[in-house]
Amino acid sequence: MGLFELPLVSMAVSIIIIWALIAILTGFVHEAIAQWLAERGRFMRKWLMSQMNDKVNGINWASLIYLHGSVDLLTRDIKKPTGNISGKLFAQTLIEVVGKSHAAQMQSIEGARIDYSSEILKNLKHALMVLKPSDVITMIQQGLAIAETKAGTGLQREQVVYDELVKHIEIWFSEFEWRMSDWYKRKTKVRLFMLGTVIALALNVNSIELFHYVKHNAEGRERIIEYYEKNISQLEALAVKSESPQSFDILKKEIDEQKTRIEDLSKSADMPVGFDKSVFSSSKITSIRDFIVLIFGASLTGFAVSFGAPFWFDLLRKIYTLKKV
């Protein structure tokens, strides 16, 4: 008997598949809420404001970036800042706001000569010379120094300097975005747990009841595993999509479709899952024990969901790799 034919293993795989499906649904619902609250945009602004807060020079450069027309025009509402600032836009705007700042313009260095004909580069170079060396200023100074070295003395020197400097800042910004994405995932874990628990209660995805179901229902387990094997690519794509920012209309559509998939699978596998089987539609609670089991079971589902759909599909992929071996 192969490992995968062991009931315990197929039970575990079935539960993981159910958790993964609920995690996709929870992910989409969470993204819809985040979209409505413009949370990604606010999260980005919060962290940019934190990182670009130049206490040495008394200026928060991020606040000036958000004020700049190029970025402000991307915002749909003053309380819903955009979360879609490209690295290039960020870099170009930062270069401009630093160079144009009054704090820099009002200072001069006697005898200083700046060999740029481009006003943007002239202003920036001047600003970097007169402003105090904070983290932000140092980062830009480093970028300019590297850009000037790469540009050499050719005819297109100033264009090359500018392009290289923008690239340097873009690299910083993409590393920042990657870290921010990580911080965002950590922040949303608790929320996913709470949302996952609520959805589990609404659709009766009680992990304790499910353990019981998969233990005593070999045919059900087969149907679940078969469903997964038939739809691997689609489900993995949905898992990634469930954690990506999208328009509200698309998210609404995905939520409806995912709900339908879960309900259809529940019917075909005769699972105790669905709104009609939840505590909101039927009197499931007849004792305190039932209540405790329900809450604990739903919380367990919520906990599983908080890992995110990609985590469970990754695990399934690893399990199936073992299976092939």
Binding site: N57, N60, A103
Partner: protein
């Protein structure tokens, strides 16, 4: 004729220190309001709840809505929309709030200035920013003065064809923790006097922003006055810490006592030595406006010749601040006052129009204190109501007759603003 609103604010909560709301609410409430109002949904919820609390709640909802704007340019646009087709030029006062004992601001003070100058670029014919000055901003008086001069003397480029002056006056807010006679302000005041640069200082009894650091207050309220050669006689003998049980329970007693201590920094009498010095020794008087005419409460008391019910927190505890300002205006012919915030109390209007008939009537200025006044009423309503009344009043001063509106919002403000940076 151009008309002016000499007293407005366009800073947002981003420019205020992180614990700003703790100055006015118990800690837990301040944190809750701050967090919840970060989102539009939360802001709408809080405003909705506040509106249920009646008139007072509605007004706080309005104030919160403006203050939580993302940027001063939105606040300024909101302000401009209040004046319909009137040609009103607006003085916006920046404010150094980094040393209130409430943490530092998200934007930074220089960041606040950059934001206001960006608004100036967009509205160069409407906006007249004042530079907030605090002796603690820079390391010493010389550095402070050099910084102020740099800010004033570097034009702001509006477009390829046009540059404008960035600032038109200086704003002071002593209740944040300093005296006007602070030695570190001397160089800046000397420069301001020499160039005719107007100064506008907050002066409302127990109103506005204050320093919330008890240790700081206790060590600075008795500061040395370089102009008199003596320590300022504060706190007064009658000053006692307040101890109210309810305030202790909800966690606002400490802040209340700090507010009372901060009052000494604001008292009009504390300015006398400096005004005397510049008039009699330097021979170049300072042009100084005491905002709010001491407060609406004191204006009504003074107008009704009523006595104070209790001692004030100040070195002249039995003299209301409207009276102190009147005395200073009589004594110094470059002392002004404005009616901002106070004018939202209709009971002050008769007093204001009477004052315009006095010898210093040409030194009373129109201002509203937007958006602080959103707690009392909408800017449009405040402006229109006062303007309608003022247009009905004719004032004759020094042989010139004009309606009170043209005087208080026109010629008086123009004279106040006149300097090497404006109207010359």
């Amino acid at each position: 004729m151009s008309h002016y609103n000499v007293h407005t604010h366009i800073f947002t909560m981003q420019n205020a220190p992180k614990d700003f709301l703790h100055l006015y609410l118990p800690g837990f409430a301040a944190n809750l309001v701050d967090n919840v109002t970060s989102t539009q949904a939360g802001s709408n919820l809080v405003q909705g709840l506040l509106r249920l609390a009646g008139n007072g709640g509605r007004k706080y909802a309005s104030f919160l809505s403006v203050g939580k704007s993302a940027h001063p340019k939105y606040v300024f646009n909101e302000l401009l929309s209040a004046y319909d087709n009137d040609d009103v030029k607006i003085v916006a006062l920046t404010l150094y709030m980094e040393r209130l004992g409430a943490g530092s601001s998200e934007s930074g003070y220089e960041g606040q200035l950059e934001q206001v100058l960006e608004v100036l670029r967009m509205h160069d014919t409407k906006l007249l920013p004042f530079l907030g000055v605090d002796p603690r901003w820079k390391g010493n008086g010389v550095e402070l003065c050099a910084t102020v001069q740099n800010y004033f003397n570097t034009p702001v480029k509006v477009n390829e064809m046009k540059s404008v002056n960035p600032f038109y006056g200086l704003k002071l807010y002593p209740s944040t923790g300093f005296y006007f006679f602070d030695e570190r302000l001397k160089e800046t005041l000397t420069w301001a006097a020499a160039h005719g640069v107007p100064l506008l200082t907050h002066c409302s009894y127990l109103g506005g922003i204050y320093n919330n650091d008890r240790d700081y207050l206790l060590s600075h309220v008795n500061a040395f006055n370089v102009y008199t050669g003596k320590n300022h006689p504060a706190p007064a003998a009658h000053h006692k810490l307040e101890k109210k049980i309810f305030r202790r329970i909800i966690g606002v007693q400490k802040s209340k006592n700090n507010l009372y201590y901060s009052s000494y920094f604001l008292e009009p009498e504390s300015y006398r030595s400096v005004l005397t010095y510049f008039r009699d020794v330097v021979k170049t008087p300072l042009k100084l406006c005491f905002a709010h005419f001491g407060s609406d409460e004191h204006m009504v008391l003074q107008g009704g010749n009523e006595n104070l019910k209790e001692n004030l927190f100040g070195v002249l505890p039995r003299e209301n601040w409207a009276k102190q300002i009147q005395n200073l205006m009589l004594e110094f012919d470059t002392v002004y006052t404005d009616i901002s915030y106070s004018l939202t109390n209709n009971k002050t209007h008769d007093f204001i129009f009477n004052e315009l008939n006095k010898s210093y009537g040409n030194r009373i200025l129109f201002g509203t204190d937007y958006y602080m006044t959103e707690r009392e009423g909408k800017e449009r309503d405040t402006y229109n109501a006062f303007k309608a009344k003022a247009l009905q009043k004719q004032i004759t001063l020094n042989g010139v007759t004009q309606n009170a509106w043209d005087m208080i919002a026109g010629t008086n403000v123009q004279a106040f603003l006149k300097s090497n940076y404006f109207g010359s």
